[in-house]
Amino acid sequence: MKNRLRVLRAELAWSQADLAERLGVSRQTVNAIETGKYDPSLPLAFSLARTFKRQIEEIFEAESRRA
């Protein structure tokens, strides 16, 4: 799943550690989400949306399925 986490984080000049502290997860988790290696759970996705004051759809984009 693609996401705009790195861009949103850069807009606020937050480091991965800053965001991780706000979310209550490890920095490695933030990095894995940013690089697309890990898709967060629904509660964590909602926490991200609340942190950035955006809708989940504005942060995450489901990859289009091949027909």
Binding site: G24, V25, S26, Q28, T29, N31, A32, K37, Y38, P40
Partner: protein
């Protein structure tokens, strides 16, 4: 003493009509006087306190409990060798299980405090450890049937732990 002129009475002075002085670019207007506020008291930034206990609490607890386990184990073996026929030897033999149970409790507590990615990593590592242990023990069991020496069951737990550690390393690396 001065004699007041009645014509200078402010009440008698002519009043300028409105818009007598139209706005002019050459007319300087005074800016409002700056309002000063007291600066907040200057405080030197205090560095966060990261004591060894706070930073490495889990590791210290694990280390102390494992040390307690080893001490009880060595003590138990020593006492049992000195008293091989005592009636209470069974209780002494299982005494190391007490610190071992504390280790398991610490381990479960640590797992419950992990975030979701690390829980997944540990779940995958446990799967790796379980599968690896099953393969190795089954394989060695078959080899025992053709003559290799019989090993103690106590080797299984260290094998699980070692494979679990390897699994954590592998799956942590995959999510980097």
């Amino acid at each position: 003493m001065t004699e007041q002129n009645p014509s200078q009475n402010p009440a008698d002075a002519p009043v300028d009509p409105l818009f007598t002085h139209p706005a002019s670019p050459f007319l300087r207007t005074e800016a409002p006087a700056p309002v000063s506020f007291d600066s907040p008291p200057h405080r030197a930034p205090t560095p966060p306190i990261y004591s060894t206990w706070v930073m490495y609490r889990t590791q210290i607890e694990f280390g102390l409990t494992l040390l307690a386990y080893l001490m009880v184990l060595v003590g138990s073996i020593t006492v049992l060798k000195a008293n091989p026929d005592a009636d209470w030897r069974y209780y002494v033999a299982v005494l190391p299980l007490v610190p071992a149970a504390v280790v398991i409790w610490l381990f479960l507590r640590t797992l419950s405090r992990l975030d979701e990615l690390h829980r997944r990593i540990h779940l995958q590592a446990f799967g790796f450890s379980l599968g690896g242990t099953a393969l190795l023990t089954f394989g060695y069991g078959f080899l025992e049937g053709v003559g290799l020496p019989q090993l103690s069951w106590t080797y299984i737990l260290p094998l699980i732990a070692v494979l679990w550690g390897i699994g954590v390393g592998i799956f942590t690396w995959r999510y980097r």
